[in-house]
């Protein structure tokens, strides 16, 4: 393994994060605070509790997941797309490093950044609501697995994208709706039966459900299924990455 190269990419990407600190960290935190104000205070005032948990606390795992997914995908996709766009990718491709090392560098940095923001949001939310975390180890496991999986997805999007529009397309049109409809702000049991069935086709439901379970011990779906779902998704992303690596798709002519 070319650890120096992985380190170089990781340090370089993290430096970008800190250079653009306002847009990297301040803006997701600000938008989360806005969610708290709008959903927690305005709506939460009318919904007293969901499954025995105060509404303000109930939405915290969903809000963290919303930001975690968006950040992991956008950071990883931008991280690899930008060198492609400006042409500096030549250096990565001519360096004595394998595709796996490139992936570890970019995905590692994107996942780290997404996790940092998730933890900041978690800390921020304690200012608004009382939180309990029943299964902290599982909480961290869900966070890390989700961050890594979606950073991998972002990396694939970044390799695939031919322009900035395509880069924004999937996060905007697929991931955000899935998170909103995946039970971020409500329990699936609150939906009419038909919608409950449909929601079970939404993969993000399993992430949010499992993550919420690690906080409060309540879940929309059994936690084992949540873990299986995230594992399958991770495996799927790794397979696509492996195929890209094998074929040099969109990278080497």
């Amino acid at each position: 393994m070319n650890w120096q190269a992985i380190r170089a990419i990781y340090v370089f990407e993290m430096a970008r994060t800190f250079r653009t600190i306002a847009q990297s960290i301040v803006s997701p935190v600000l938008s989360t605070v806005l969610y708290f104000v709008v959903f927690g205070a305005a709506i939460g005032g009318r919904i007293e509790s969901v499954e025995g948990i105060s509404y303000g606390a109930f939405i915290v795992p969903g809000l963290i997941m919303l930001t975690l997914l968006q950040q992991a995908v956008t950071n990883a996709s931008f991280g690899i797309y930008f060198p492609k766009f400006i042409g500096t990718i030549y250096e990565l491709l001519s360096a004595p490093m394998s595709f796996v090392e490139i992936v570890i560098g970019y995905v590692g940095a994107a996942a780290t950044k997404a996790l940092m923001i998730a933890l900041i949001i978690l800390a921020t939310s304690t200012l608004f609501v009382d939180l309990q975390i029943l299964h902290p180890v599982w909480m961290v496991t869900f966070l890390v697995l989700t961050a890594v999986s979606f950073a991998l997805l972002g990396f694939i999007i970044g390799i695939w994208a031919g322009n900035f529009e395509q880069l924004q397309l999937i996060p905007l049109l697929i991931i955000t709706p899935l998170v909103f409809l995946g039970g971020s702000f409500y329990s699936v049991s609150m939906l009419p039966p038909a919608w409950q069935t449909i929601t079970h086709f939404n993969p993000v439901l399993y992430l949010i459900s499992g993550f919420r379970w690690s906080f409060f011990g309540v879940a929309d779906v059994p936690v084992g299924i949540s873990i299986a779902a995230i594992t399958v998704f991770l495996a799927l992303c790794l397979t696509v990455i492996w195929l890209i690596f094998r074929t040099g798709w969109r990278l080497r002519q």
Partner: protein, 308 residues
């Protein structure tokens, strides 16, 4: 000298059927400066891109320092520094950070002293904390060279290093290349400026339409393919070439005051002695003689025309 790069029957045909490289074989010796000369689109950049791992060849093999570029790509690529033709550089990074990044990518442990040495040699040290996008075009190009040298390569590829570069910077670049060569770095540069090849190279390879037409010691190439022109200045002007001299393919120059004769310096008989005696027989008296050697440019054009 041993070959540090060995290219065997290399071919690259793109999916759309375009053949960028056609059966190219080439040995590059350690420590030499090789110039690859050819018109735009000849395949120079493709050849470099294959050796550096950016383009996958469709035929043939390449070894770098004895390592196959596919099965032992790590060992092969670690030896190579590449300066691309386009100025492609991270706009928002500082010069030092971007150079440090390059060194890391090539698997080398951090070495600030080496980076300082490289940046000083390129007159970039006082710009080390400047962001790349604030640099002039010439400086950006030097940053690209600094990146390529950051990991102490034994081979340096310079793809059109002086395209669009002003005269002073071009001279600096040439001096730098010579210094690197003196340090034992093998240098392969592509150019379509003949002057550059003539100034810099130990050997010259000519590429056109994906084929390597020849690789030759620069001076030998000039001699071998060099044609000379003899200009005969006459006492009295002429309007046309006399019939008696028709077989020499002479041209009338300088408003009839001179005749020009092109000949091959490598031919067994240049024909000069016969021409001069025939001139005397035709009653033309000679005032002066001069010969001029063709430049590499003419050599190159005649090669490319033959290949057309």
């Amino acid at each position: 000298m041993p070959a540090i790069i060995s290219v065997r029957n290399l071919g690259k045909t793109y999916a759309n059927g375009f053949t960028a490289l056609d059966d190219v074989s080439l040995d590059i010796e350690e420590g030499e400066i090789l110039a690859l000369l050819g018109p735009n689109g000849a395949g120079k950049t493709t050849l470099i891109s294959v050796i550096c791992g950016l383009v996958q060849p469709t035929a043939g093999t390449v070894t770098v320092g004895g390592h196959d570029i596919r099965s032992e790509y790590r060992a092969a690529r670690a030896l190579i520094g590449l300066v691309p033709q386009e100025i492609t550089i991270e706009p928002f990074e500082k010069v030092i950070a971007t150079t440090r990044f390059s060194r890391g990518l090539f698997g080398k442990a951090p070495d600030e002293a080496h980076l300082e040495q490289v940046l000083r040699a390129l007159s970039l040290w006082d710009k080390k904390d400047t962001r790349n996008r604030e640099l002039s075009g010439g400086m950006k190009r030097r940053v690209l060279i600094a990146k390529a040298l950051s990991h102490e390569p034994r081979i340096l590829f310079l793809d059109e290093p002086t395209a669009g570069v002003d005269v002073n910077l071009r001279k600096d670049m040439w001096a730098l290349v010579r210094r690197l060569r003196d340090d034992g770095v093998t240098i392969i540069l592509t150019t379509h400026y003949i002057e550059e090849a003539e100034q810099m190279a130990d050997r010259i390879g000519v590429i056109d339409k994906g084929r390597l037409l020849l690789v030759e010691d620069k001076d030998r190439l000039m001699r071998k393919l060099g044609r000379k022109r003899l200009v005969i200045e006459l006492q009295a002007p002429l309007t046309s070439v006399p019939d008696a001299l028709a077989r020499y393919n002479l041209t009338v120059e300088r408003d009839g005051h001179a005749l020009a004769y092109d000949y091959d310096t490598q031919a067994d008989r240049t024909g000069i002695a016969h021409l001069l005696s025939d001139l005397a027989q035709a009653g033309l008296s000679v005032r002066d003689l001069e010969t001029t050697e063709s430049s590499l440019e003419q050599v190159f054009l005649s090669l490319v025309e033959e290949n057309a």
